[in-house]
């Protein structure tokens, strides 16, 4: 009898201990800290997008300087994955299992994100605002994954629609990076063209390691394309435009939001990016928007490195995590992963410096329950690297 009581007490204490522990100690959360992780290419072929992770860092520093979120400071863990999915996976695993991360923010690239999507989903770890507009994030939708970036698929549709309806282009070629990023754009473009009774005149894949674009441009020229949609890395896009110029092939070029940081594109292309039309997902750097001005002053001016530039990719690192920060604020002191998810699901038409963000209660059959941003607008690069707005925010 006595031994049964002892055993009962022991079982009860173990249950209480574990139950108590779980209730109090959410992974990556202490009374004073919230641990947030992010990967981003600081080296390698996609390093131009590395400023996303640095922008998030400055934003978190700004929040911490203002007292943090409900008394907790954000501890930000950022690592360089060089746009290499194997490194992304190793780094995420190491930080998650070594340090313990409460939630993951942004993360540049479709392929790096795909390398960790199952890992984070299985462990029910929130991942908010992947820095890529991939359809993979919502096919199928995942309870703990909240994309903010408008889909590449939709961007491509918006660009094609504009080219056909507003510019009267009918011979449309596509150059796409031969991975999920490029194929998302390709799919959107193809589907939009079909709705206008058109087909692509040529589709050219580009491998990440390709450096010589002459064969590509020769085939584009041969196709007689009057509009070329570029769904590639920044450096490939510039090389295609440059090689086309050298071969005196001058169609209208259009490109994805990843190539819409015009000052950078003009600098790299030595001015050849002028006239290119891009989709984009964030207010313009010089926009007369109070929030943009505040971020510029209190995050960028105060915390950015000396040689950093206030460009789209930099403040995209802020834009992608605005919903996460808002939801964490709404959680109050009782910050858990479940509460964070619940608060994110309550966001309706949340407006930061990007598109309006709305989520819904999780429905595994409804991708829109998790695709937060669906608006985009089109801009054209001017001679001085500034942008001319061609459209307002559009719902695609």
């Amino acid at each position: 009898m006595k031994s049964k009581s002892v055993l009962g007490c022991l079982v009860l204490s173990v249950c209480l201990m574990f139950g108590f522990n779980t209730a109090l100690a959410e992974e990556g959360i202490t009374d004073t800290e919230i641990h947030i992780g992010q990967w981003g290419p600081q080296t390698g072929p996609a390093a131009a997008w590395g400023s996303v992770a640095r922008g998030t860092g400055a934003y978190f520093q700004m929040i911490n300087a203002k007292g943090g979120i409900n008394g907790r400071k954000i501890v930000y863990h950022m690592f360089d994955d060089a746009y290499n999915p194997a490194k992304t996976k190793a780094g995420v695993k190491e930080l998650q299992e070594g340090t313990g991360i409460f939630a993951w923010a942004c993360g540049v690239g479709t392929s790096p994100g795909l390398a960790v999507i199952d890992y984070l989903t299985e462990r029910e770890i929130p991942w908010i605002g992947p820095a890529a507009g991939s359809l993979h994030w919502i096919t199928p939708p995942r309870k703990h994954l909240f994309p903010v970036y408008p889909l590449y698929y939709n961007e491509a549709k918006a660009l094609i629609r504009y080219a056909v309806k507003e510019m009267g282009k009918t011979k449309i070629a596509i150059v796409y990076q031969n991975d999920e990023y490029g194929k998302n754009g390709l799919r959107g473009a193809r589907e939009e063209l079909v709705t206008h009774g058109l087909n692509t005149v040529v589709e050219m894949p580009v491998e990440l390691k390709d450096t010589d674009m002459k064969s590509h441009v020769m085939q584009l020229r041969k196709s007689g394309a009057d509009m070329v949609l570029l769904w590639t890395s920044v450096s490939h896009a510039v090389r295609i435009v440059g090689t086309s110029r050298a071969m005196q092939f001058t169609p209208q070029f259009m490109s994805t939001s990843t190539c819409s940081d015009f000052p950078l594109m003009m600098h790299i292309s030595k001015g050849l990016w002028e006239g290119v039309i891009c989709a984009t997902f964030g207010e313009l750097p010089d926009a007369d928007d109070p929030l943009m001005k505040m971020y510029k002053k209190e995050a960028f001016d105060a915390f950015a490195a000396k040689d950093e530039r206030w460009g789209l990719f930099y403040y995209a690192g802020i834009l992608f995590v605005e919903p996460m920060v808002e939801a964490m604020k709404r959680c109050g002191k009782d910050l858990t992963r479940d509460r964070l998810v619940a608060e994110l699901e309550k966001l309706r038409d949340f407006k930061g410096i990007g598109p309006k963000i709305s989520f819904k209660p999780f429905d595994p059959n409804d991708p829109s329950s998790r695709q937060g941003g669906s608006q985009t607008f089109l801009i054209q690069c001017l001679k001085d690297g500034k942008a001319k707005k061609l459209t307002d925010w559009m719902d695609i």
């Binding site: 600081q42 590395g50 491998e207 390709d210 010589d212 002459k214 085939q219 090689t243 050298a246 050849l272």
Partner: protein, 291 residues
Amino acid sequence: MIDFIQTIVSGIAAGSSYALMGLAMVLIYKTSEVPNFAQGELALAASFFAYMIMESFGLSFFLALPCALSFAFLLGCFLEFLVLRRAKTPNILSMIVITIGLEMILLGLVSWKFGADQKTMPFPISPYDSMAIGNIFISTLELVTVFVVLAIMAALYLLLRFSKMGLAMKATQQNTMAARLMGIRANRVLNLTWGLSSVVGAIAGLLIAPTLMHPYMMWDPLLKGFAAAVMGGMTSLPGAVSGAFLLGIIENIFGTYISIEFKAVVAFAIIVIILCIKPSGLFARHYVKKV
């Protein structure tokens, strides 16, 4: 037909940057029988050095050019003297591993100092200006590169064929001990070869940088240059250049008429095929070393 001619011209243009890297590799191989995988990063360091002095000190390209080439020469000599010469009981495998190590160190240093963002090298010729003969186009920069390649190849050929230095390099490669017994200062010959090859690589880097400038910019030209040198023959300067032009042409024909997706791997398929069929390369004379 116009398309085919354009493909050939584009191939020659693409091959010109491979040719410079191939020449640099052949130069060291001719003296030490070691393929130098640090060649690309030696060129990278010199290109970024030129960029730095132009950006920080406002030097013009024509002043920065001799400074960068001198830097490349000294860097090549320095690495040979400080690292390769110190290798104990050196064999070819360990020397190759050392050059790969040097390559990683130089890449790390350049990335650390200049960051990974793409830069724009100030250059007198725009990489996107072109010349046209009828409907055939070639970029002005690539045309300049082709002429530079041919000039360097001729200069190096004359140096190796008719100068005492060239004879000493050949002797050092064929039998270092015998060369030493004949009074050739083999270490000095090796040292100068590293310096010279570094200069040739640096010229390649400076001609590539106006189009593409970031820490990984030399990987592709190095690998393609190596493939070209293997194809043409690792001991033949005209072989390396012909191999490079041939490689550029094959790549472009393959990309235009067969598969653009597999264009990037053609070079490596060629290495495998050449090594199986004619290991000494298409244009090199095979010689048997007496033992």
